[in-house]
Subunit: 443 residues, 2 copies
């Protein structure tokens, strides 16, 4: 893109306007100021491709966008710089992505199935046409794992990837673990709450996690691990009994996507060529591992790398706004078109922040005071708190050791640092404190 083109908005065509597409439309409005500050440009949706132009829609189209059912309308429009593909499925999505690249458009997609099963041809086409093809939202939703592997960890030899990549399965296993219900009941609950599809096959049989794992393997090692060659086992029919037994050993059961270098196949100088062990399967994870702590519909990825050591990423793996935020980051990368981007902001100079004085910080507090063990001391200290409007949530009183008095420990509701130091000042002035009070914020 030439310099002058940067002042005009980035023209976007949206293929698909479901959960993620409408989330993107919302973010483009709500975060318009941030987009402009970060990239120096606006992002304008010119056209939205849908199957049925007459269907009633709850979410308004992005301002200025036209609705169309004709893919050719998108790829022939010279005002469109990027196609965002959010239709899902394989054939139609491949068709429109290919056509967009052929017509010199960049592409942003969240389509893990297409990229896993048929991505190599699309990467080849993008390379030939020198176009950008980005897909952060296709793996682990809001968690920037594509970027981490593609850019942040490039100086590392990746040793293994281990992830919770399917939120539906993780939700079901979390429910089976916390409430002891059997698989069928947990699946039914997940379907009622919208965490599982009416046909949950892709999720609970491991295929969705497997699609994501194929993409991660490409990013980590730069090799193609054919989706069809991946060993995949899901969680369908798992027994609550085994979750209970696993707990007795100190483990949780999680659906894991894992890929790691096989012994004697690291590809390093002097070793055998790179060989991978990869698959999706339910596994026991020791409760002290961060991966065991991933609950509900969250996703997480652990990466082990020869320089970084172990890294752990955790966040929302799906949902309208989390996924749309990842799509938007890809769009903004295209809008920036990769020039020095040192601060992450396009403005010439950083403004000074407006600062909240520490005494106005709001927070619950932990407070320990050492007092005489006399009648009324608790009333007096509490009075100091109340005089500053501080409300106590929990309190512990301990027997003292006779030298420095009795410890009183309070957990307060949210208050300000000013109120807290005011209350403790009152207590000190009243001669109630045997030692200076100790207090910490509670997160």
């Amino acid at each position: 893109m030439s310099k002058s083109s940067e002042t005009r908005p980035l023209g976007v065509a949206l293929a698909g306007f479901g959960t993620v597409g409408s989330g993107l439309g919302r973010l483009l409005v709500e975060n318009a100021d941030i987009i402009r500050r970060r990239t120096g440009r606006d992002v304008a949706v010119r056209a939205v491709l849908v199957r049925d132009a007459h269907k009633a829609r709850e979410v308004p189209l992005p301002p200025g966008a036209v609705l169309t059912t004709d893919p050719a309308r998108l790829v022939n429009d010279p005002g469109i710089d990027v196609l965002v593909e959010l239709m899902g499925g394989i054939d139609a999505a491949r068709g429109i992505i290919s056509a967009a690249l052929e017509h010199g458009k960049h592409v942003v997609t969240a389509n893990k199935a297409l990229l896993a099963e048929d991505g190599l041809a699309l990467f080849r086409l993008a390379r030939r046409k020198r176009r950008i093809l980005r897909y952060e939202a296709s793996v682990a939703g809001a968690i920037p794992v594509v970027q981490a592997l593609k850019e942040s960890l490039v100086g590392n030899r990746i040793e293994s990837l281990m992830g919770i990549l399917n939120g539906t399965s993780n939700y079901i296993l979390s429910e089976m673990t916390s409430s002891g219900v059997e698989f069928g009941e947990a699946l039914r609950q997940a379907q009622e709450l919208g965490f599982a599809e009416a046909d949950p096959t892709l999720d609970i049989d491991g295929h969705d996690a497997a699609h994501k794992l194929v993409l991660l393997i490409r990013l980590a090692w730069g090799v193609d691990y054919p989706y069809a060659a991946l060993a995949v086992r899901g969680i369908r029919g798992m027994a609550a009994l085994d979750i209970r037994f696993a707990r007795e050993f100190g483990y949780r059961i999680k659906l894991i996507g894992q890929a790691r270098l096989a012994a004697g196949g690291t590809g390093a100088a002097g070793d055998a060529p790179l060989r991978l062990e990869a698959g999706v399967f339910p596994a026991l994870v020791h409760h002290t591992f961060l991966l065991a702590r991933v609950g509900g519909a969250y996703n997480a990825l652990r990466v082990d790398a020869n320089a970084a050591g172990p890294l752990f990423f955790h966040g929302r793996g799906a949902g309208s706004l989390p996924t749309a935020g990842a799509v938007l980051a890809d769009l903004m990368a295209v809008a920036r078109e990769e020039r020095p981007n040192n601060t992450g902001f396009a403005e010439s100079e950083l403004e000074r922040a407006a600062i909240v004085p520490p005494e106005d910080w709001r927070s619950p507090y932990y407070v320990r005071v050492m007092v005489e063990d006399t009648p009324g001391v608790l009333r007096d200290i509490s009075g100091c708190m109340a005089a500053e409007g501080i409300s106590v949530a929990q309190m512990i009183q301990k027997a003292g050791d006779g030298t420095s008095g009795v410890p009183l420990v309070f957990m307060t509701h949210e208050t300000t640092a000013r109120a807290m130091s005011g209350a403790l000042g009152r207590a000190a002035d009243a001669g109630l404190l045997r030692e200076p009070a100790v207090y910490y914020r509670v997160l």
Copy 2:
């Protein structure tokens, strides 16, 4: 950089050759193949600047590098494209970074103190000279938080940052928590083990975490929060007593760097201009939070953002190779010079991965079999395992409910899936199993 320049190595000057510099030297050799595959270029260290050229060094210089004590030697060499500043400190580092930018070199640095206290002038200079100034290693070591805020989360309005940004303090607090020792003793142990400096002021009084927080605030909100204006409180002299009391309420005490939008100051359209509440302080963190689980010398960052929701990043915050890996990623970003980078590899076509067949996967296993409650059944099942070379680490036998037999649950040492299915096949053939066996890998 013109196209032809990409085939020649990226010329690097290294200022400082201590822990991180020598780690970088090691990675440039060990991961040379990866660097070439990822960027299409080699990275060559041309010169290393040190204070004393005659000091004995344990680590060899990078191949082809000359040792020098003259900063001018670095910035005047047309074969040097990038200066990597790893000297630390303020004045000399600022001098050489400024000179390098003035002479048209890109800069990579890990110097959080310099960037926090005096970074705006350097960013201004880099912008004027159109040079890249990267600093991933300056915050949270191996964890790619700079990249996440600068590129992955750009479509989000950041609501808050909350991090464990100083490994020394976290190590001391972890020791006080796990072994109940007082602060002075924990500090002494940390110093003996090399987790704390002889003069620990920067770490335990919160200044190091504060430097990092200033950088994170700039990246998240694009504003300058002057280091001198930041409220900073460290962990010096913290009482083991308070750590114990906090535990009774279900909390851990952590040194936290936090910045968040003040109420009525989000900067969003229709709201008051952006106002920040920011500081470094010890705080109670509920044990169910992932931040409470960050142990030893690890770092972590939680980001809350309006599209992504909560994100959590965890990894090594310091150390030779973890930090050097982050420096190397910055160098490789310069080497790539930001063109379409879809797969993260420069090669034209991905090779097919060499694949370990699932039956050869090595792992410990959890196995549950339902058997008749008869004498010798445990011996028989164990015999099937032993015949396949499987060694049992733990075993539980439960009373059965009389219908489907008695459950025997094994945790094995590492073995292969082939051996496991072999053993279970033997058990089935011998008529020992009342139901198909259930087995899962143990991570």
